[in-house]
Amino acid sequence: MAMLEVRDLHVQFRTDDGLVKAVDGLSFNLERGRTLGIVGESGSGKSVTSLAIMGLHRSSDKGSGTEITGQIRLDGEDLVSSSAERVRQLRGSKMAMIFQDPLSALNPYYSVGAQIGEAYRVHNKVSKQVARKRVIDLLGRVGIPQPTVRVDDYPHQFSGGMRQRAMIAMALSCDPELLIADEPTTALDVTVQAQILDLIVDLQAEFGSAVIIITHDLGVVAEVADDVLVMYAGRVAEYGSGGDVFRQPGHPYTWGLLGSMPRLDVARVDRLRPIRGTPPSLIHVPSGCPFHPRCAYPPQVGGDRCSTEIPALLETGPGHRVACHLMLAKQQELWAKLAPGSAGSAAAATEETVAAEQTAAAEQTAAADEVASAEQGEDVTEVEAT
């Protein structure tokens, strides 16, 4: 049994504008001692997933409009159907979380030592002195110099990196079995990023906990993640080990992500290749495959399958799943052309761009026609692809 098993998780928010489907059918497993990197753009549902695991939607007063269905099994116990009180007991003790901006995530009015001590004493009935010793110990473990002095300092007296270390210390105070790090390095500069990531890896090795790292930074994922989960519009786009996803990605979105990264080992190109378009609204998720409006390959799939049929998460290799209608062979062929450093990548890139533009144009026309005919009250069936 995996440490964390998520099955068909749906998280929806009821808003004045409509029902926001933040997470729309998410499933994955995470074993002890392994690190999962969840990747995606803003609005892909990565943070919402982590908050759902921690049960933090329920206790906030905005939670009244939140609906969570599915299963989240932590060490065999389903958190979705557990009481709020039970989840609270697990929070901080069995599962812990660190956040993106340690300056705003720490209470400015209490010393760092007090806050970490508080985290410890919530789940352990010990005296303040005992807690303080533990805190100093933790601060030392996360690499903060002079911990006996710094334990009484306030968050604003720490540098950015030190603050994040303190946050990590706070999260680890009760020896959690699951650590979720939500964009832990985004607010830090690059040199410090490396240190923090190293720290997380070391601590994981030492404590044996499962780690989820949520990020939009592929470099971070490549560095530390054993497994990678690519999310798009609240759904899984691709899921597999780090090696699989980086070397043999199957989803066009993943290709776009990888392709849009600047690289040192490739000849300089004139421009970076962004993924055309913007992330979709989670209220009005596109029909069929949510990525299809930005994807260059629906023509390769043929017909209008991409715009009408939601792709299932299919296994393309051992432990490697992709949610795309493209045939496996086609995926490998296209990736071979696109892979940075391959001979035909530049040309293929252009080809892809052109194709994507055409698709986009067709989509626009189709959309316009649809609107027009909707106004005229007619049904639209076929869209001619050029």
């Binding site: 906030s60 007063d61 400015p108 009015y109 306030y154």
Partner: protein
């Protein structure tokens, strides 16, 4: 911190001097600009049908025919070193701080202010405790139950509290609870040293009237502050640690939301100590506020100057205490 306090105290003295000059100018210069001369000014303090010599004597006694700078200097030196006062058969020494003698009653001003101060203190501090506890609680509860009937109702009442003038709520409460149903009959100030139970009982109506206004304000402020604070990231962190919601609200939410509230509270209390004029007049409480009103109605310059400076002093000190408090409460602030 010590240097801060010293610097502030020096600024306080300077500020009080400026306030005294401005008050002095308002009292003496403006009527002059309207054409009043010192004889006409002196005539206000003599009885009906004064003889010419009576007016002249009064002018001389009050020093009204001296140049303004000399009058001001005499006043200032009185505060610092005291002054001698001719009460007729004898000359009394008025020790510093000597705010002079009332133009009207010939009685020394400072002892009168000192006698009035406990009344105002009783009123202000009692009401302050009520409004702080009441207002903040209602505000916190409203914030936590935003949108519910409780929230809407309490904010509605708060709107009323903030909008209704004190002389209205005071007179209504007297009419209902003192005359119609004699729950608090004969509201009259009784010193706490004479009879603590009666002191408290007679102050309940003024306390509640005054506190109602401020509690309403603080409820709205606290609610707004709490709503803002509960959206902060560190609240999410506190929950993520597994803290009970109650502790999240109180230890993390309230602690942060209260910081600006407490500083406003310091200012409000400082202002009130200068005299809650409306409340004191409505309930006939002989405090600094009533003293101020009487002084103004009687155009009694030494008394006016006395209360103005005392009130200014309280406000400035309250300002300083608030700044110190802020530095103590918020570790990010350096004095």
């Amino acid at each position: 911190m010590i240097t801060f306090i010293i610097r502030r105290l020096i600024t306080t003295v300077f500020l009080l001097v400026v306030v005294s000059i401005i008050t002095f100018a308002i009292f003496f210069l403006i009527p002059r600009l309207a054409g009043q001369n010192s004889a006409e000014l002196a005539a206000q303090y003599v009885g009906r049908n004064p003889t010419h010599s009576a007016i002249v004597q009064m002018e001389a006694k009050l020093g009204l025919n001296e140049p303004l700078q000399e009058q001001y200097w005499r006043f200032l030196s009185g505060i610092v070193v005291g002054a001698h006062y001719n009460s007729g058969p004898s000359v009394t020494y008025c020790p510093p701080p000597c705010f002079g003698y009332s133009f009207r009653s010939q009685q020394p001003v400072w002892p009168q202010m000192v006698a009035a101060l406990p009344v105002t203190l009783s009123l202000a501090i009692g009401a302050a405790v009520l409004w702080l506890v009441g207002g903040v609680s209602v505000g916190v509860l409203s914030a936590l139950r935003r949108g519910t009937l409780f929230d809407r109702f309490s904010m509605g009442v708060a709107l009323a509290g903030v909008s209704l003038p004190i002389f209205f709520t005071g007179l209504i409460s007297l009419e209902l609870f003192s005359y119609k149903w004699p729950i608090f009959p004969n509201v009259q100030y009784v010193p706490i040293t004479t009879n603590p139970a009666l002191w408290a009982r007679n102050l309940v109506l003024p306390w509640v009237t005054l506190a109602f206004l401020y509690a309403a304000l603080y409820a709205r402020l606290t609610r707004a502050g709490m709503l803002e604070t509960m959206d902060e990231d560190f609240i999410r962190t506190a929950r993520a640690k597994g803290l009970r919601e109650r502790n999240v609200v109180v230890r993390h939410g309230l602690r942060a939301a209260l910081t600006p509230i407490l500083t406003i509270f310091g200012m409000d209390l400082g202002l009130l100590l200068g005299g809650a004029i409306l409340t004191e007049t409505t309930f006939s409480l002989p405090g600094l506020g009533q003293f101020t009103l009487l002084a103004i109605q009687n155009q009694d310059f030494p008394e006016i100057m006395g209360v103005v400076l005392l009130a200014a002093f309280f406000i400035v000190i309250a300002n300083m205490v608030v700044d110190i408090l802020y530095a103590v409460i918020d570790p990010r602030v350096r004095l």
